[in-house]
């Protein structure tokens, strides 16, 4: 960090516009510096510098500008970027969206203070993620495997059970052969109170609360803080992972609210809008959050990220899921059709993907048939789904016998493989055996993605 000038105070506000105030007569304000705004009644708000010229600074006020006047308001420049004091004791605690404790617990004794914006991890020191995480969910473990250090978002829609799924993952996630549980950093970004209570209760009931740090910005709290909350959470996660050797699971919900806040600040700055009014730099901005995951050489800990976002109108081409998908290492997509059919978890496997799967599976990690079985499930299920729409037009009877078998396979897949209980924790062997079970309903020569030796080894027909 550059040399700091300490605290300076100014009171000449020349413009107030949306969440922004323009302060004149400022000297030596620095870009991204944190400020404290004191209203005439003595209440204090926080903000940060977005644009600075020789004597003018544009400040974004986190708590909004309602009630701020051009006279009698004092603006203090604190001479540092927004920092989070970090400590291992923060696990088990609850914080507001800026990282201040709100659970009436003891004060946090900081071991270090870090700039919440972080720095990009040097790609040359990253270690490629390859440790299989068993979530106990067949559609994930079998076909969209999660590995330690991955960022794998859940693309959901309003009213779909993404919270239940994320909670199930947090409860069941283990790395094979290691008893160690994940530490959880949870960031609530503009979510409803009920959603927050759902997670809080869930962590309490599972006895996990002492290994969870929660950062909470609720729907009725200032939207500008949402730009800070995920960064604060990830700053703690990085400290715990890379300095305290912990394996951390970060849950960010709901990133859609984050993107909305970003659009709001962009339009009040009168920036040239990109698609659907979102700023042109939204990709880089989202990346500065999602890329804060992974493993590095020489450090034991890791950060695995599960961001949740609700797709506006269930539209996967909307800029928020679209840009997210370009940054994250795959996505788990929830489907309203499956949900309406009463299937849990309603994961649309065809649209879902785990980019890091290939390195996390196979002999020694899961099982030697895993990759081929997964390929076969995809190929066969997608054929079944295609034929379903064809059958709807021309009728099932005009399909060939083989095609009818595919139709049946698609049903079996959804009912036997995909469907499972909220508390059902399937081992990976279990998941793969289940897959063979349904695949054996297809003629053997249709299993074109599986090598002969694997068929001989695992096909129920040859297995005694």
């Amino acid at each position: 960090m550059s040399s700091l000038y300490g605290i300076r105070e100014y009171s000449k506000i020349v413009e107030i516009k949306g969440p922004l105030i323009v302060v004149e007569g400022v000297s030596k304000a620095s870009y991204d510096e944190i400020v404290e705004v004191e209203l005439s009644d003595g209440t204090k708000r926080r903000g940060r510098v977005l644009d600075v010229s020789k004597n003018v600074a544009v400040v974004q006020v986190f708590e909004g500008t309602t009630g701020i006047t051009t006279t009698g308001t004092r603006v203090r420049f604190l001479g540092r970027p927004l920092e989070l004091p970090v400590s291992e004791d923060m696990l088990g605690r609850i914080f507001n969206g800026l990282g201040e404790p709100i659970d009436n617990g003891p004060e946090i004794v900081a071991e270090e203070k870090y700039d919440i914006n972080g720095s990009p991890i040097n790609p040359a020191v990253r270690a490629y993620p390859e440790d299989f995480i068993q979530t106990g969910i067949s559609a994930i473990d079998g076909m969209n495997t999660l590995v330690r250090g991955q960022k794998l978002p859940i693309f959901s829609g309003s009213g779909l059970p993404h919270n239940i799924l994320a909670a199930q993952i947090a409860r069941q996630a283990t790395v094979k052969g290691e008893g160690e549980e994940f530490g959880v950093v949870f960031a609530a970004i503009g979510i409803k109170y009920d959603d927050y209570i759902f997670f809080k209760k869930f962590f309490e009931e599972t006895g996990a609360l002492n290994r969870v740090a929660m950062f909470v910005n609720l729907a009725d709290e200032p939207a500008m803080i949402r730009l800070v909350t995920p960064r604060v959470a990830l700053t703690l996660a990085e400290y715990l992972a890379y300095e305290k050797d912990l394996h951390i699971l970060v849950i960010l919900t709901d990133m859609t609210n984050y993107a909305e806040a970003l659009r709001e600040i962009s339009s009040s700055r009168e920036e040239v809008p990109g698609r659907q009014g979102y700023p042109g730099y939204m990709y880089s901005d989202l990346a500065s959050i999602y890329e804060r995951a992974g493993r590095v050489h020489g450090k034991k800990g890791s950060i695995t990220q599960i961001p949740i976002l609700t797709m506006p109108n269930d539209d996967i081409t909307h800029p928020i899921p679209d840009l997210t998908g370009y940054i994250t290492e795959g996505q788990i997509v929830l489907s309203r059709d499956l949900y309406n059919k009463g299937i849990y978890p309603p994961i649309n496997v065809l649209m879902s993907l785990s980019r890091l799967m290939k390195e996390g599976i196979g002999p020694g990690k899961t099982r030697d048939d895993h990759a081929q079985v997964s390929d076969q499930l995809y190929a066969s299920y997608s054929r079944g789904v295609d034929l379903r729409s064809l059958a709807a037009v021309v009728g099932e009877e005009s399909l060939s016998e083989t095609d009818r078998k595919y139709l049946k396979f698609a049903d079996l897949f959804e009912k036997k493989f995909l469907t499972q209980g909220v508390r059902e924790n399937r081992s990976i062997e279990n998941t793969l055996d289940l897959a063979w079970d349904i695949l054996s309903d297809l003629p053997e020569e249709e299993l074109t993605n599986i090598k002969e030796e694997m068929i001989k080894k695992y096909h129920p027909k040859y297995k005694k």
Partner: protein, 601 residues
């Protein structure tokens, strides 16, 4: 040098005043931390500077210093096997340096770190060429050789735009890149030459003559080599929505293609993808030479969370290094993943400069910048002696928002590239990889490279290829009908087309990048597989024309059907006689069916 002061900071853009005399695109040092920046606009005494590092903490009033030269790269031995950021800072050296100065932050890329791109202390064994004192030399002339890696013999050349008379040349021996290895006299003045020199990235390096790309760049990917081939010195693009396999295809190209040197630019993409290349390539063997792949690879990494201005520069840094190896007479492949992020960086900076936006907020010069970049590709006769021919092949990934190919970056890139590998979301959803759509894709080199195939692999290559393409196009038409009325009402010949098209899709087009046998298919095996399918098709068609139902032709194959589809991953490149056996058995089966049916009738 010019020295000014910061007057305004907004994101990656800094405005400095009192900068009279600064050049357009001059590299400058910004603020107390001496961040790297480049001048992108000059107005009165003000300079608009795009800064390649995070501007957090910068203050108005801090010093901006000119360097007198535009953004340049250092070219010399030591590039291969290295990984650089967008402005050619070596990332492993940054990590080393930080682990000494601030160990807790050593896993990050911190600001203001100054490291030279090529190691200063490493000694290279220099073998001088036949050049003697008194020889007149000019740019591109060979001064000597250095074995840079096991794979690449580095040619030490007189830098472009330099000429004079040799007054001294170093004897064979070990030298660092800062030791002089020759001296030339220019107008009575002596100039020292080194193993390395600098070149401004925004200027294409000169060449003698551009040649027609006529030799294919073999990639081992069947759908590419056979249906939509790339030529050495050609240009191509891979557009595709997320999850369609752009990166896997790019990695495949970087791994298996028959280039001598590969430049891999990770432009605004995932950190883990660069790590994957960095960790895996040293363990993979080049299929053409058997040496570790990293020995021919240079990586440029500007991951999505690294400063956006450096993303704009990374493409130019990459192509300049590519041209440098081209000038030595090598075939270079440059893959840029993804050019959309580069275009977005351009858009972001244009927005900060408050320029008038054109389509979707992109600046109006997007098209001309893309054109300039892709024009730096090509197969050329290089400058200097002895005569050399080298090439730079450029393949850019494009990430269209929402998978929409009508957006500006895709449409403009299409105008300047000649191969179009369109990735398809529907194929990706059913895990048909590579998800290259064979209806939308095209290659302008399919005809120009057919001569090479005919001469070096099989005279019938073009014939098989065209027939495969015809079957696939016919299948596409038939699918429309099937969607309306089902398969039953098709005539038998069309049913056979559907059957064989499925065989082509499953047994030829689909290719598993992670299967040790399937991942790379030799040109010979590609032809053998085509021959297997086409000969079967021709024979079966003859039977169908004689009134035998299409379903029976397939039944007659029995288990052979599965064997044909699995040949791509069951039969290795060096056991091609197994494909020939398979072909004979399949034809025999049809022959048997024919005699049975004829007898029955």
């Amino acid at each position: 040098m010019v020295k000014g002061k910061i007057s305004r900071i907004t994101g990656p853009l800094v405005i400095a005043e009192n900068m009279t005399g600064v050049q357009m695109y001059e590299m400058v040092r910004v603020g107390e931390e001496r961040l790297i920046g480049e001048v992108t606009r000059i107005k009165g005494d003000q300079a608009y500077i795009q800064v390649y590092e995070s501007t957090t903490g910068l203050k108005p009033g801090e010093v901006v210093e000119g360097t007198g030269s535009p953004l340049s790269v250092e070219l010399g031995p030591g590039l291969l096997g290295n990984i650089y950021d967008g402005v050619q800072r070596p990332l492993p050296f940054i990590a080393d340096l930080l682990s000494k100065t601030s160990p807790k932050r050593s896993i990050f890329v911190e600001k203001g770190v100054e490291v030279s791109p090529l190691p200063r202390d490493k000694k290279w064994h220099f073998m001088p060429s036949e050049i003697k004192t008194g020889d007149k030399v000019s740019g591109g002339d060979l001064l000597g050789l250095v074995q840079e890696t096991e794979l690449i013999l580095h040619k030490v050349m007189v830098p472009p735009n330099t000429f004079g008379e040799i007054s001294w040349i170093a004897p064979e021996g070990d030298y660092t890149i800062v030791d002089p290895i020759a001296e030339i006299k220019v107008n009575g003045k002596v100039k020292e030459l080194y193993l390395s020199h600098r070149w401004p990235v925004r200027f294409p390096r000169p060449y003698n003559l551009k040649l027609d790309p006529s030799e294919p760049l073999i990639t081992g990917l069947r759908i590419i080599d056979t249906l939509f081939p790339m030529a050495k010195g050609g240009t191509g693009m891979i557009p595709g929505g997320f999850g369609t396999g752009k990166t896997v295809t790019m990695h495949g190209l970087a791994q298996w293609s028959s280039a001598n040197v590969v430049l891999y630019i990770g432009c605004g993409e995932r950190g883990n993808e660069m790590t994957e290349v960095l960790e895996r390539f040293p363990t993979y063997k080049d299929p053409w030479t058997g040496k570790p792949l990293m020995e021919r690879t240079v990586l440029i990494a500007n991951t999505s969370n690294m400063p956006v201005a450096a993303r704009e520069a990374s493409i130019y840094v990459g192509i300049t290094i590519a041209e440098f190896y081209r000038d030595m007479g090598y075939d270079v492949l440059l893959v840029a993943d993804s050019t959309s992020r580069w275009a977005e960086a351009l858009r972001e900076i244009a927005g900060r400069l408050e320029e008038m936006p054109a389509e979707e907020g992109y600046p109006s010069y997007l098209a001309s910048r893309l054109a300039e970049f892709y024009e730096r590709a090509g197969r050329v006769k290089t400058i200097g002696s002895p005569d050399r021919v080298g090439s730079v092949t450029v393949v850019g990934a494009v990430s269209p928002p929402g998978g929409d190919f009508t957006e500006p970056v895709t449409t403009h890139t299409r105008r300047f590239t000649r191969v179009f590998w369109a990735l398809d979301t529907a194929l990706a959803y059913s895990r048909h990889y590579p998800a290259i759509n064979w209806i939308l894709s095209y290659s302008a080199y399919a005809d120009t490279v057919s001569e090479w195939w005919a001469k070096n692999v099989d005279p019938k290559w073009k014939e098989y290829r065209d027939e495969i393409m015809d079957i696939l196009l016919r299948e596409n038409e038939l699918q429309e009908i099937v969607r309306l009325v089902g398969t039953e009402s098709l005539d038998e010949g069309d049913k056979l087309v559907l059957d064989v098209a499925r065989m082509i899709r499953e047994g030829f087009l689909k290719q598993n990048a992670f299967d040790p046998i399937d991942t790379f298919t030799s040109p010979k095996k590609q032809v053998e597989l085509m021959k297997l399918i086409i000969d079967y098709y021709r024979k079966a068609r003859e039977l169908v024309q004689n009134g035998i139902p299409a379903a029976k032709t397939r039944e007659s194959l029995g288990r052979l059907y599965v064997d044909i589809i699995k040949a791509r991953f069951n039969i290795p490149n060096d056991k091609l006689e197994m494909i020939e056996d398979l072909r004979k058995h399949a034809l025999d089966a049809l022959e048997e069916l024919k005699s049975k049916e004829v007898k029955g009738a």
